[in-house]
């Protein structure tokens, strides 16, 4: 199995929104909200884009404060120390030189105290037109639209919902990473079993390669894998195992 980033439909959609926000949105509205279910590729996409652009990554945590964020930004931009004013001035200078993208993961932790942490980041980004990406789970996205947070929600220019893989994504994934060729029916089977979760698709890819090796083939059709479990959620398998053990007792 090959190892590289696959440009799925989620990634393409994110890039489209990013280009639109960078090119057309006013400086005060360059916020993108990225949300999605686990396994939809949020983290991997943020890794790819963030590493490529040398973004500033902030991992949200409960109880975080503006002071913590200021120290973190100063450290990441290579200008720690000094008074608060000096630190903020150094941050602003570094921002205007670099115009870095800021990725705020688990952004729901920045919502307490009327989202003062997000507001601080927004103000810092706004001065130079940096893009602020707020990443959260789907179940948290509604919190950014609350009435009391209108000062944030009105400035979110784009909401990108990451979805589980579709058939086109699955075919693309197998074409790019799998060492063997599979037809679309096999891809459909893998998609059904994995429920579109990319982590499980990687397992399916490895299983298909093992099957092809044992059959001495370089291409598989649906007849070769009929009734075969290509991938399984490890935790679900563990639960099923313990349930069957209980039933046996």
């Amino acid at each position: 199995m090959k190892s590289h980033f696959v440009k799925t439909s989620n990634y393409q959609r994110f890039l489209e929104f990013l280009a639109a926000v960078e090119g057309q949105a006013p400086k005060e509205g360059r916020i993108i909200n990225v949300n999605g279910e686990p396994g939809s590729g949020k983290s991997r996409t943020m890794d790819h884009v963030g590493a490529d652009r040398n973004a500033i990554y902030i991992n949200g945590m409960p109880g975080m404060t503006v002071g913590y964020l200021r120290d973190l930004l100063a450290y990441e931009l290579g200008c720690p120390g000094g008074t608060r004013l000096q630190q903020q001035q150094a941050i602003n200078r570094a921002f205007s030189e670099r115009v870095p993208m800021v990725i705020f993961d688990e952004a729901q932790h920045g919502l307490h105290k009327k989202a003062e942490c997000i507001e601080f980041l927004r103000c810092t980004c706004e001065q130079v037109g940096s893009v602020l990406v707020l990443v959260c789970h789907t179940s948290e996205k509604h919190r950014f639209g609350e009435h009391k947070l209108a000062h944030i929600s009105t400035r979110i220019s784009a909401v990108v919902e990451f979805k589980q893989a579709n058939l086109a994504d699955t075919v693309l994934y197998f074409n790019e990473l799998c060492d063997i060729t599979v037809d679309s029916a096999v891809a459909q089977l893998a998609l059904t079993q994995s429920k579109g979760r990319y982590r499980l698709l990687a397992n399916a890819c490895r299983t298909l390669e093992d099957i092809a090796q044992s059959l001495g083939k370089s291409a598989l059709t649906i007849d070769d894998v009929k009734g075969v479990l290509l991938c399984e959620d490890a935790m679900k398998a563990l639960r099923n195992k313990s349930l069957s053990q209980k039933a046996g007792n």
Partner: protein
């Protein structure tokens, strides 16, 4: 219409440092799946050499984990134990010396300890004004 300025591509090792700092623990496959585009030449051996040098100076530890692949000995899992800062450590081709551009110091190998670490003046002589971002 004004043509948009093209962003320079960041080096493979610089991107690897970014994801390693973010995720703390990653296998080589995880790193490649996150940052590689498929067009890099021998990304696997390039990253392996770089990570090995980081292990030698104690920035990263390496353990073998089960990768679930048949007939495989497992894969190397790298854990960032010392985050020296946002700039990626540079591994010199000659002698595998690791330079930290965050502190502007050469990092000593963990087995040799700090006794063999060159002083600041030695450091400047070794990197001799060469570009520090050449990764």
């Amino acid at each position: 219409m004004v043509a948009r300025k093209k962003r320079p591509t960041r080096g493979l090792r610089a991107r690897a440092w970014w994801v390693l700092r973010k995720n703390k623990t990653m296998t080589l496959t995880d790193i490649q799946n996150s940052i590689c585009t498929g067009s890099e030449k021998s990304a696997d051996s390039n990253l392996r050499r770089w990570l090995k040098a980081l292990v030698n100076v104690g920035l990263v530890t390496c353990t073998i984990v089960d990768d679930g692949i048949l007939n495989s000995n497992g894969s190397n899992c790298y854990k960032l134990v010392k985050d020296v800062g946002p700039k990626p450590p540079v591994v010199r081709d000659k002698g595998g010396v690791v330079f930290d551009p965050n502190s502007n110091q050469i990092l000593p190998p963990i087995s040799m300890g700090s006794l063999n670490a060159p002083s600041n003046s030695d450091t400047s002589a070794i990197h001799g004004g060469r570009g520090l971002e050449g990764v």
